[in-house]
Every structure is written in structure tokens, then in C-alpha cells.
Symmetry: C2
Subunit: 342 residues, 2 copies
């Protein structure tokens, strides 16, 4: 199976590492016969090799020089857009980051192009799913290919795969949870007496908050995630701009103290609920009882609860997600396509 | 698809109810084309109809008379063993209860017979999986049929299905959790000041503890469950009698008080861990920190944590399981067979 990767940041490089230098450690991946034939980045150059790139080499280049070098085998000036349109591949893997302003572009177009060419698409970027799930799924179905995005919510912790395979006789009626790790880390640190600004800086240093933290602290990332869930699992048609959204920007340590005195924890809760034929989505800080499942999710953890007509509620918690978990979400999708198990 | 049910207690009747009188409520089951052609019980009689039994009628008989009546259409004296051997069916559904003394019999033999006849088998009874997983799986594989048992651990909450479909690139290295609802209920009530004996009586009244509570309070049910997990997910070969097992029979309210004063909760924890080529399994009461995920599981709740080589840990929690959850585990297996999605 031939894949092209769009984006080669932390997640892309972790995938490359798992599939190359660390591969021996993971016997469960033995049958994954995957050739990466192109890697496309916005600022670090791009490389192409129809016979399969040497991923260890690609990793080396980024680690040593911060980019692909013109003297590397396969170095090229091709854009991701062009690659999606003209290259010979079986699956396009979108690893770029969420852009709310552009409505999920350019990732959305890359995926659409791939699907229209009857290629599978895997997206770690939640934007295309949040803004255009039904459009993309329809093309995928028409062309008989897969459009998968397990890592868009809670990394590789099974959410979409679980709904598809393990709750196949149920209708999901309500979803809630803590889906943004960065704000959960910030709120946990604020409980320990640190200011929001300091906690943001810590999260940036630790690599899971971006330079501009507004996607996290204004609730945009959480809003995109609840849209992905509502669209893909509850058949809603909603985009992040339509979510009732309140972030944590204005939360103070004093407020957190008051909440703690009530034996509660402040959590940024995402929810989607079927009300008649509508799905109502919300992102907002909520005071949660100390003994509640959601309160036990500290730091960068995340949790989701699914309520269905027949079964549940089922709660899936991620204790301490790292880059391997995000990478695994993509790899699980690749395995699903490879084993044609859906 | 033709099924025979062995056992028609609470779970069997809930399945029958979901598939008949309540079916309209569950649109996700629309495509499940299932004909129950036989129901066999030890003490309530048996009924057979190759054209498909009227499940609503069967439910009525039990509700009104406590048993099937000789004047009912299809009433017969056939034993479950004979039915497994001679009837024409596609899937045998084992709904009898765990028997440690007999090493999972007679359910084990019923399932073996079905598999040897190239029929699928679904077991809500954990005994056959705890005592003979590899033997039964081997026959199923040789005959090209399925042997599924989702509800054997944590009812319909996805465990085996999740490992099979959502963690397919991972090797599970460690499992721990609270798997016996009855003891968790008892320990929760003891924290509230009630004695073990009283709590057992409450659980019996509420219908989730059996008349002889020793399977629960001596840790046998938990031991069987950790065996099922170790055998089916971690490739161990162990039976419940080999588990290092300590129940809660000797736990006193005084001891629970001391634990609570330390800001801890006492939980009956099951665990299985790979150590070299071995899998070490344990069931024992453990003092868990108040803020821990496991501590937030109160009453009849249950929780499992999977650690793998690549992904996780992932924690799946059941908030308040009821008979619909157990029934759903069986129905999900039937859907898996019906849709041939494995």
C-alpha cells in the first residue's frame, strides 16, 4: 500500500519512527505493508520516491537540519495540493494542524482530491471532518474508498472505530467529555495555584500547546472535536462556528479556589445531545463533583462518555496520552484500510 | 440466521424482549435477521420450532407461569446437549451461569459440539472461555466459524471487540480493573457503614447477587473474568483455579473505615501482567487513591484498563450496567456474525 504524508511535524515523525527505526518493537504491525512514497511540508521541503522513501533518512534530515535538503534523494518542489492531484498512491494521510479561519482548508481540499481519485484518506487533522464530514463521506462511499480519522478525537483511543465496530447495533444519543488536553492540563495546574498564563507557558514548553494558544483556551479545538463526533457518530450537520462555545480564557485562580472549596473541579466539558431531530452541541467550563469520573481525569488526560439507546453509558478515558497515541490513531486507520476490516 | 438459546434467565429474557416486543425502539438492529428456533432451560422446560419461535409468547409463559407449559406449541423434552448435537441452527447462544466446580461444564460441551458441527457459538457464560479458550478457538478456526463472548466481561461494554478491532496493531501487556460488580457494590455500601452481610442481602434483593454469593465474595467470578481476558487477549493459558485469588469475605467495616481515613478506597482489583513469556494473574482487595480512576467507580460499576506496547493506557468504564448491557453484549456478537465483520 502506497501512502503520501501531508505534514511532518511531531505526529508525522512519530509515525515514521514507529514504521522504521522502532518497527521491530511492535510485532502487531508485522502485516502492515506500507510504502511512504511522498512527504510534503509547508516549510521544510518535500521528498518523493515512488519506490518508497527511506523514513529513517527523512527523520535524520529533520533532526539534524530542521528540514529536507535539496541534495537528498527525491527532494522536490511539488506542493501537497499537486501531490494529491497527480501522484500514484493508495492512501493520503493528512497530518497538518486545525485551521478554523479557513474552514479546514487546505487539508479539506487535499482529502477531497484524494477521495475523488478513488484513493483512501486518513486525517489526523480534525478540520476537514468538523467542516465537511458528510460531503467527504459521500464521495468516499461513492468511490468505494475509506475516509477515516480515528486520531482526530482523543488520539488513538478508540472512539470512531468503537462506535463503528463495537456499538454497531446502537444509536448514540448523547456524548460528553473532556476532549482538549491542553485546557485540562491548564485547569489542573491552576488548581495547584499556578496562573493561567504560567500554565499555558508550561504546556507550550512541554510541546502540547501551540505558540498561539487561542485554539485551545477559547475552546475552538474542543468545538471542532465535538463537531467531528456529532457529525460522524450522531449524523449531525454542524461546524465549529455553530457550537455554543465558551473557553477558559477568563477563568481565574480565585474562581478555581471557590470551586475547589465546594468539593468540585472545573472542567472544560464538550457535549452533543440529540433533541428531537436536532443535535445540540456545547463547549463550556463546568463544575464537576470531585468523585465523578470526569474529575479523576487530571493533567493532559481526556475522557469521553457515550450514551446510546440500548447500551451504556460507556466511558473511555485516556490516562496520559503522548505522541505515540496520536500516531497510533493514524496507524490503526492504515491497518483498517490495509486489512479491509470495516 | 437460526439461533438456539441455552438458558432463559434474566439475560435470555432481556435479549428476547429486545428482539421482539421492544424491537421497534432500536433502529440499529434493523438488519439483524435472527430466528430463535429453540430455547432450552434446566428447570423451566424447553421449546423448539424450526420456523422460528414466537419470543413474545415465550416471555409471557415465563412471566405468567414461571415456565414453558406442555400445551405450548413446540414444547419438548429435548435436553440442551441433544439440541446442540442434532438441531439445525447457525449459532448456539450459551446463557447459562458460571460453574467453577465443573470446570465450565456443561456449557463448555455445548459450545464444543456446536463448533465441531461448524456452527457459530456465542457465550455469555464466562466458564468455557476461562477453562478452554484455546481448545474452543482452535476448533472454531479450523471450522471457519466464530466463537464470541463479548458479554463475558463487563457485559456489552466493548472489551474483546475493542481489542480485536480497535487495538489491532498493539500487543496488550497488562490489564487491570474492577470486573465484579457485586463486590464493588458491597464495598461501596460498606463505605457507607453497612455490614458485608447486609450489603450481600441488598445485592441479592436487587437481583445482581446470587443466592450463594461465594462466586462473588470469594473472588471466583473475578478470577474467571481475568482468565478470560488473559487467555483471549494476552494469549495466556490459565484457568480460574490457577489465579492468585483473595476475595472480600473477611473485610470488615472497621477495616474499610481505616482505609477511608487514609483517603483511599478498597477495591477488588483483577490484574494480568506479562512477565517474560508468562502472564501473572491476580484478584485481590487493593487500597486505591481517592482521586484515581478506579476509585470513581462506585456501586455496580466496572472498569478495565489496558496497557499495550504502542498505545494507551486506555480505560473503559461502565457507569451503571443493567441487563440491557449484558443482553447487548450477546446481540453485538450476533451482529458481528450476521454482518461477518470480523
Amino acid at each position: 500500500m502506497k501512502a503520501i504524508l501531508i505534514g511532518f511535524g511531531n505526529v508525522g515523525r512519530t509515525i515514521a519512527r514507529i514504521l522504521s527505526v522502532e518497527r521491530q518493537r511492535f510485532p502487531g504491525l508485522q502485516d502492515l505493508d506500507l510504502k511512504v512514497v511522498g512527504i510534503f511540508t509547508r516549510t521544510r521541503g518535500s521528498i518523493v520516491d515512488d519506490g518508497g522513501l527511506d523514513l529513517a533518512c527523512a527523520l535524520d534530515a529533520i533532526e539534524q537540519h530542521g528540514r529536507f535538503l535539496p541534495e537528498m534523494k527525491g527532494y522536490c518542489g511539488m506542493s501537497a495540493k499537486e501531490a494529491a492531484e497527480v501522484l500514484d498512491y493508495d492512501v493520503l494521510v493528512e497530518l497538518s494542524t486545525l485551521s478554523i479561519d479557513t474552514g479546514g482548508e487546505p487539508a479539506l481540499s487535499h482529502i477531497k482530491t484524494a477521495l475523488q481519485r478513488s484513493k483512501h484518506a486518513v486525517s489526523a487533522n480534525k478540520g476537514p471532518v468538523a467542516f465537511a464530514y458528510h460531503e467527504l463521506k459521500k464521495i468516499a462511499d461513492e468511490k468505494g474508498v475509506k475516509f477515516l480519522f480515528e486520531s482526530a478525537v482523543m488520539d488513538g483511543a478508540p472512539v470512531f472505530n468503537m462506535a463503528r465496530n463495537c456499538l454497531k447495533g446502537c444509536q448514540v444519543e448523547e456524548i460528553d467529555g473532556i476532549l482538549n488536553s491542553t485546557t485540562n492540563y491548564i485547569l489542573t495546574r491552576m488548581e495547584e495555584g499556578i496562573s493561567l498564563e504560567e500554565a499555558v507557558r508550561e504546556a507550550q514548553k512541554m510541546g502540547f500547546a501551540e505558540a498561539d494558544p487561542s485554539n485551545d483556551i477559547d475552546g475552538w479545538d474542543a468545538a471542532a472535536k465535538i463537531c467531528v463526533l456529532a457529525n460522524a457518530i450522531m449524523d449531525a450537520e454542524i461546524n465549529p462556528k455553530e457550537v455554543k462555545r465558551k473557553g477558559i480564557r477568563d477563568i481565574t485562580c480565585e474562581y478555581i479556589k471557590v470551586v475547589r472549596q465546594k468539593k468540585k473541579c472545573l472542567k472544560l466539558i464538550c457535549s452533543a445531545k440529540k433533541v428531537g431531530t436536532q443535535v445540540i452541541t456545547t463547549v463550556e467550563p463546568v463544575e464537576v463533583d470531585e468523585g465523578h469520573f470526569f474529575a479523576s481525569v487530571k493533567g493532559e488526560g481526556a475522557v469521553i462518555r457515550l450514551k446510546t439507546d440500548l447500551m451504556g453509558p460507556i466511558i473511555v478515558t485516556q490516562e496520559a496520552p503522548d505522541l505515540y497515541d496520536t500516531a497510533y490513531g493514524v496507524i490503526d486507520d492504515l491497518l483498517t484500510i490495509h486489512r479491509k476490516t470495516i
